[in-house]
């Protein structure tokens, strides 16, 4: 079992979500996040006063899935979130030791 964490541009969320459900992924978690990478914040000036934006608004999605599905899911995210410009985001893949569905107590594959 793996967990995929992907940081993407906000307006790409729908595309990525549809892409993932298209390949049979049943659930994802979505978080609104702020941060910076190579794409830094920027400064605006209005009537002499500066308004500094340090962090850029992004979306983080998290998916836990079976290892076999990872390549396809990654490919989907990469395709759907791609604009070719800076700030398209990143994908991380992490190992997951166990998953438990709280309601039923099912574990492993059944729980995701």
């Amino acid at each position: 079992m793996k967990k995929i964490e992907a940081i993407i541009k906000p307006f790409k969320l729908d595309d990525v979500k549809d892409g993932l459900s298209g390949i049979g992924i049943k659930g994802i978690s979505v978080t609104e996040i702020k941060g910076f990478g190579r794409q830094r914040g920027h400064k605006e000036v209005y009537r002499g006063a500066e308004y500094q934006v340090d962090f850029v608004s992004k979306i983080k999605i998290e998916v836990v899935l079976e290892s076999e599905l990872v390549p396809e899911a990654v490919k989907t995210i990469q395709e759907k979130a791609h604009t070719g410009q800076i700030g398209d985001g990143k994908i991380f893949i992490l190992p997951v030791e166990e998953a438990i569905r709280i309601r039923t107590g099912e574990t492993g594959k059944e729980a995701i």
């Binding site: 702020k34 308004y51 604009t83």
Partner: protein
Amino acid sequence: MKSAFEELKEAKAHLVKQLSEDTCLKDFQASYTEIIDQYFRASLEESETGRGLFKKKRPFTFVAVGGYGRKELCLHSDIDIIILFSSKIPAEAKDLAEEIFFPLWNLGLDLGYGVRTMKDCLSLCRDDFEVLTSMMDSRFICGDSPLYLSLMENLQKKVVVKKSMAFTRWLDDQNKIRMDKFGDASYLLEPHLKEGIGGLRDYHHILWIARTCFDLRTPRDLEYYGKLSHNEYRELEEDLMFIWLVRNHLHLISGRKNDQLHFDYQEKIAEQIGFKNKGGLLAVERFLGKLHSCMASIKSLHKSFINTHLPKRGLSKKRDKPEIISNGLTLYQDEIYFDSSTAILSNPFLLLEIFEKCSVLCCRLSLESMRLLREFLYLVDDTFRASEKATQLFLTIINNKYTFEALDQMFETGFLEVFIPEFGEIKDRVQFDAYHMFPVGRHSLETVRQLKELANRKELLLHDLLLDLADPQSIFLAAFLHDIGKKGKDHSRKGKAIATTILKRLGYDKKKTEDILFLIRHHLLLAETATRRDLNDEKIVVTCSRTIRDVERLKMLYLLTWADSKATGPKAWNEWISNLVQELFFKIMHILEGKELATAHASQKGKNTQSQVRGLVAGKISAHDLDKFFEVMTPRYLLNSSPHDIVRHISMVEQLGKTSQQFEPSAFVIDTRQDSGDDYWELVFSAKDRPGLFSDLSGVLAINNINILSADIYTWRDGTALDIFQVSRPLDPIHPEETWQHVERDLKNTFKGKLSLAYRLGQKAEPSILSDRKKPSRPPKVIIDNESSDFFTLIEVFADDRVGLLYDITHTLFELRLDIRIAIIATKVDQIADVFYVRDLEGQKVKDEDQLKEIKEALDYKLGLT
């Protein structure tokens, strides 16, 4: 004969069955209380211990306290009871309690009891006001009634009278604690029926104050003694009945004592008490609308009651004397009073003027004023609404400092919905989700509040924007009206139509009306675009800019977006969204200030061009395919190209598409034509864009002795490059096609690596005895401009023209890994003035200082070579 316990069991089961079957069983509390009372009476009769105590002259009495005392028992309410003895508690009291109370516990009822003497009771009440309140609600059930009466008498004389000041202060504090705890957003979405604001506790407070200050013993006395008007009492009763009904069903569904209406239960209860989907609203939304409106009116009554009857703290001395603030209105102790009801009859505008005073003084109306206001609402008719006096007063309220406070009371008293009937239709609408905190009416007022409070905050962009507005009145009116069309889908369009009627009635300035209608129509534009669109796409931003059209409106729209979101709920606005909207705001502002792409003229021209193109290609290209082309064209391209040219370009791009499908990696299409005059030609080149393309082109033209007079290069959003050159006439004007064939051949060879442009140009530039003699020259100049555009770095180059100059410049830019997206090339006599719109390989403006320095130095170096 059945035992008391058997009877209780049967009666209760029957009542619960009725509750679950009868959707609007109203008197559950009364019936349930009666069943429990009956049990106590009957079981006391059955009790040996009880009879024994009376025989021994140790009289006692059963007293219902708290909610049971008030006859407000809901399905799983606690039942609190006291066994009262006059002086000493006999040993048998314990047996008595066990005998009578144990069966109730077995039945699963939450019974709390105390065995106390008169003295215990009084001292507990003195020490703990919580106990005092439950004792104030007490009621005799059975046993020795003189004992109960003497308890009540002592309570009044020895506790209530003596402690009244401390007690009312305690009530006031409790109230504040409750406001803090239950006033936040989550309790608006999932109301707490008992402790929540506008919940049952508010009503209890009214009762306790009435008891303390006026010695009123039953709720009815509120009306009999004139503390509440007949209508107020009747409404209060109805509202309470509804809340109790909901509470009983909540207890039934959750199977326990639970007074918070969680999301999970809301739909089920709506269905159970008979709400249906209607008029585009879900049953649950109609149910919550009704509940909110009941709680709002209890809240309002409670607030006025407290203000009127509780001694005020921290009042300024100045306002301790009545002060006449207008003909017919008096200010006393921070509340405004009507002088008399006849004053209202002779001048109905007092009904609105009183709120106008609120909006200046930040005061409340007295309970008495609210009462009169409600009585005289009938005076607000069509003539009143449209009168100049009334509309002026209303607009003054909108302008004054305390607009929110005034609107809030206009809302509470029902004046607002009478004065603006359209508002009445939406005020109780609820959206069933975790996002919208308030019903629409309250949300509209909250939006106004956000903007009004903004004026007091410092060092905020929004604050500066608000102060800079030429016409602040319109933004407040727009805030108040922005959701006026919230009746199902497409509410901003509906809202615009409804607001048109309202603003006309208010006699609002025509031009300003346009602004407000615009704001209502587009109040979601910024938030939706910011979160759902690519803000790095210039076309998206230009499209928004064209909708908005001027900076003043943009500022208003940004303010409204912010206030609207803040007033929606904590999930609708946070720093995350704020960043996105602010980015969009600045990008639109820069485009609008640029006065190029987003003027009224520009957007009209864009539309005209599109429709002409449609006419020209009708029948040849399907509307669907044509739309796809328009979609990828940039605003700049559409603005600067004629319909005929666009048609020509489209057919080139179609041809390019076919060639690329044949796996020709460096496919391109070239098209030339002689311009009307004899002097120059137009050459159009199209290919998939890639770095260095433009530099290759200019090199090939240079080695073919073609002088570029001007050029426009466009890159469509799908990556199609479209370069349009105005070039000097070929050297051989008799056979121009030969030159173009050479150009095509050289381009192919360059793309395939069979031709080195640098080498060929170098050869060509070798000095010759035929070279022009030295001409007066000016030093070259390179300006890098990162301010003018949010999307590109602009590089401006001024220099003397020479063969291969454009190649040198563009090749240098290519070397520096810059992508030329737009180029405006102009040659005047012997001087060039070129502007290149570039981005780095990651599609960003160039921000790196070192890179910028290198660009300038490299260009300076190239231009310096002659």
